[in-house]
């Protein structure tokens, strides 16, 4: 049985009858706030017909308790003092609605996040809860019945980023019959995964599992694949977004290009001279190129920075000749802006790897044989610059390799977070290097972090394979020999914390297991899509556990490593989740918008036009015949900026009317 404060005769019959419900939230609230005292206090407040406290207000019995009281005590208003309204306002509004009370007759009081969880002093926390409840009771009396606006949803989906997460989400949605626009800024989709040779812990070939999905994206009639394109602007709201996409010129007419690459062979450059981005500069490419053999779409790109025709206009244009009557090359192509309408958006913009130049003591950029893990992925890859040979810069096979973990991770000087994937990919690289070269491999780690299906077993396997593991953060990589045996080698100096002495290990090759970072333009992207970033710069999810792919902007979802370090299985799982969330929204056919719009009391409007420049959505116009302002409810997003600007108080905002807010302020400050 719920603990009940017996219904009082507090309601004097004049105003609406209020019910107050104080939640214990187990001990989350009740551990600090004296919930019984708050309920007893509330019961004495003017207008309150019933006040109760209960273990879990949001549970079914908790909601049933409210509903029963609404019926039995003819409650017209409800105050729930529990967690943040951002968590359960919807829950309680629905509970009211189910028994026929307008859902906006509710006011929530945040006594958990804003009170019990942040204060130690029980008395102060209880006083605060009382103040807030008193304010809510005074405010809720003024609440008015409001109706949510229903607007239809455009069933099209925009997916930004064509890595494994974007690809998986696109295919899932397209298979469900949704129209998908997949926008990728590189000339091909595939993302980081396309650069890998094998994936941990199963060691299945990355290309073998990724490229069929890439091809499926390219050939799916429901997917419009726009590579070499970026989002230029976003406007609208959930269900009805308008997106401008900047399509960069690849100087190739995509529809005409067959991907035969005869133009590449025919290019006046006999050999490539430009560092190949896909191979991280480990090989060279020509001005006209296909990023990698399995690129999707199979369309070449011309790099105007290095193409002679763009520089001097005097090239023999052997490429055009080779293309012949296919006529796919167009040197006059211009950047284009295309406009699309979508209802939902999935951001799968991925990550960047840590720049090891920020840790100069590891010698990256100074010693040629210090590589990043991603560079080694390319060396190991059969379609990489060396055809899968792990070799040093001079072409020789290394006899010993050191892998340094946590470069740009778990480091107060650079990034504090654990990048989650590095331990596992370092194990994978150790295995592959040993397999390809027979070299002695040394792993320098802080902690081995191998949670995941089959991950710990993979670590065990590496231990059996004779890979060396040294526990300690590496101090430096140096080429100063302290002993003849170190001559011509790179020496890794690290404290072996298990053996408790400092080791010097000479190796031929050093691999830096670089961590994951947010994309450099993550802030710009999140601004464009009106979402938030956590302090590290990863996109912020609506709830870390219960809404991990949703954002605080309705209709915008996040998937993959743009949200935080993720491996492939997690990215794919999130992409599927994001696709399902988008589909659930689309298939409901309508979105319900909060009714917090502004409205004008015409009699009081003096036609001063102060409000008009306040609105960033051009929702307010001036009606010359009446000499009054008018608000277009469809365009209004409910910020209330015009309300605050109106000198005659003739504009009000639903649910945030002046009187409601004044009442709340005065309720807070009133001494009981």
């Amino acid at each position: 049985m719920p603990d009940a404060v017996s219904p009082t005769n507090g309601s004097n019959g004049s105003g609406p009858r209020v019910g107050v419900y104080v939640c214990h939230c187990g001990t989350n609230i009740a551990g600090t706030v004296d919930v019984k005292a708050v309920a007893e206090y509330a019961a004495e407040l003017p207008g309150v017909a019933v006040a109760r406290d209960y273990k879990y207000m949001c549970s079914d019995p908790g909601q049933a308790l409210i509903q029963q009281d609404i019926r039995e005590h003819a409650l017209a208003r409800v105050v729930v003092a529990s967690c943040s309204p951002l968590l359960h306002e919807k829950t309680f509004r629905k509970a009211l609605e189910r028994v026929g009370l307008n859902p906006f007759m509710l006011q929530m009081v945040n006594i958990r996040e804003h009170d019990s969880w942040v204060h130690l002093d029980g008395k102060a926390a209880t006083d605060k809860a009382k103040d807030l409840v008193r304010a809510a009771v005074r405010r809720v009396v003024l609440h008015k019945s409001l109706q949510k606006r229903r607007v239809p949803i455009n069933p099209n989906v925009l997916i930004v980023g064509g890595g494994i997460a974007g690809i998986h989400a696109a295919l899932t949605l397209a298979d469900a019959g949704k129209r998908v626009y997949l926008v990728e800024r590189e000339p091909t989709i595939g993302g980081h995964m396309a650069k890998f040779d094998k994936t941990f812990p199963t060691l299945d070939c990355a290309a073998c599992i990724l490229t069929p999905k890439m091809t499926a994206v390219g050939s799916n009639p429901n997917i419009a694949l726009w590579t070499y394109s970026e989002i230029a602007s976003v406007s609208g709201y959930v269900g009805n977004y308008r997106i401008q996409v900047k399509r960069k010129p690849r100087y190739i007419i995509e529809e005409m290009c067959l991907g035969c690459q005869e133009c590449v062979t025919a290019c006046v450059y006999k050999d490539g001279k430009t560092p190949d981005e896909f191979n991280l500069g480990l090989s060279k490419r020509k001005p006209v190129y296909l990023p990698f053999p399995q690129a999707v779409p199979q369309k070449v790109v011309i790099d105007p920075e290095v193409c002679i025709e763009f520089k001097s206009h005097k090239c023999k244009k052997t490429c055009v000749e080779a293309c012949g009557d296919r006529e796919a090359i167009d040197f006059n192509q211009k950047e284009q802006i295309e406009e699309i309408d979508v209802g939902t958006i999935i951001l799968a913009t991925g990550f960047k790897t840590f720049d090891p130049l920020r840790n100069p003591y590891y010698g990256y950029g100074r010693f040629p044989n210090v590589y990043t893990s991603l560079e080694v992925e390319r060396l190991i890859n059969a379609s990489g610059p060396t055809g899968g040979e792990v070799v040093l810069r001079d072409g020789k096979k290394p006899a010993s390799v050191g892998i340094i973990h946590c470069v740009g991770s778990r480091d107060a000087n650079t990034n504090r977070w654990c990048s989650k994937v590095c331990c596992m990919y370092s194990l994978k690289l150790a295995h592959l290097i040993k397999e390809r070269t027979g070299a002695e491999v040394f792993n320098f780690y802080i902690d081995m972090r191998t949670p995941g299906k089959g991950y710990e077993e993979f670590y065990d396997r590496l231990l059996d394979e004779g890979v060396h593991f040294i526990r300690g953060r590496v101090a430096e990589v140096t080429d100063w020999p302290a002993h003849p045996s170190e001559e011509g080698k790179l020496v890794i100096r690290a404290e072996d914390t298990l053996a408790a002495f400092v080791r010097r290990i000479p190796v031929d090759m050093v691999v830096l297991a670089v961590g994951l970072e947010p994309q450099p333009d993550a802030q710009a992207v999140r601004r464009m899509f009106n979402i938030s970033c956590a302090s590290e710069g990863w996109f912020l999810e609506r709830h870390p556990k219960l809404a991990p792919v949703s954002t605080f902007t309705e209709g915008v979802y996040i998937a993959g490593a743009c949200q935080g370090p993720r491996d492939i299985p997690d990215s794919v799982a999130q992409a599927g989740a994001a696709a399902a969330e988008a589909m659930a929204l689309i298939d409901s056919q309508f979105v319900e918008l909060e009714p917090y719009t502004a409205f004008i009391t015409e009699e009081e409007c003096s036609g001063c036009k102060s409000c008009i420049p306040m609105c960033p959505y051009q929702a307010i116009s001036f009606v010359p015949e009446k000499k009054k302002a008018a608000i277009n409810e469809v365009l209004c997003k409910g910020c209330g900026t015009c309300v605050a600007a109106c000198p005659s108080s003739s504009i009000q905002q639903n649910f945030f009317e002046d009187d409601e807010i004044f009442e709340e302020i005065e309720g807070i400050l009133a001494y009981a």
Binding site: E113, V118, L120, A644, Q653, I665
Partner: protein
């Protein structure tokens, strides 16, 4: 117009606890305060938060009313410049804040009593430090007192 009665219980300097009303926007600062909660970042219990959808909704009258009703300080929280959920509501807040500050100064209300802070949804720690800092500053100032006769204010706010 509303008939407002000035509320102010007698306070003694020894037991003085500042009462601060905060206006936080729904998308950044309110979320940051929630984050401070989920992260269990303990801070002073003197602040009561009023949720607005946007700091742009903040009518300067809310601040004046809070002071008239006995608040010792008012804290306004919005999204960082460029981050407003409604594009530019926070810029409007900033403009109003500058005017409001001059008005408060003329009324003899110390500058530290009304504060505008940009706190993003990720900055739970800033909610803690801002609240703690403000509570200490207002505590040092003592209870709000007007340099004008109480009757005059009553007359003005009851118009």
């Amino acid at each position: 117009m509303r008939n407002r009665q000035l509320a102010r219980a007698p306070v003694s300097p020894e037991t003085f606890e500042p009462r601060i009303v905060a206006f936080f926007c729904n998308w950044c600062t309110y979320l940051a305060a929630d984050l401070a909660g989920t992260s269990r970042m303990k801070h002073a219990p003197n602040v009561r938060v009023v949720r607005l959808m946007c700091s742009g909704r903040l009518d300067p009258q809310f601040v004046l009313d809070a002071f008239a009703q006995g608040a010792d300080g008012v804290l306004i929280g919005g999204c960082h410049p460029g981050d407003c959920h409604y594009q530019e509501g926070n810029y409007k807040t900033l403009r109003r804040y500058h005017l409001l500050k001059r008005l408060l100064q003329q009324m003899g209300i110390e500058e530290e009593r009304c504060r505008l802070e940009w706190i993003s949804a990720a900055e739970g720690d800033r909610v803690r430090s801002t609240i703690n800092d403000m509570v200490e500053k207002v505590r040092a100032l003592g209870p709000l007192h007007f340099n004008v006769e109480r009757e005059d204010i009553e007359e003005e706010v009851t118009v």
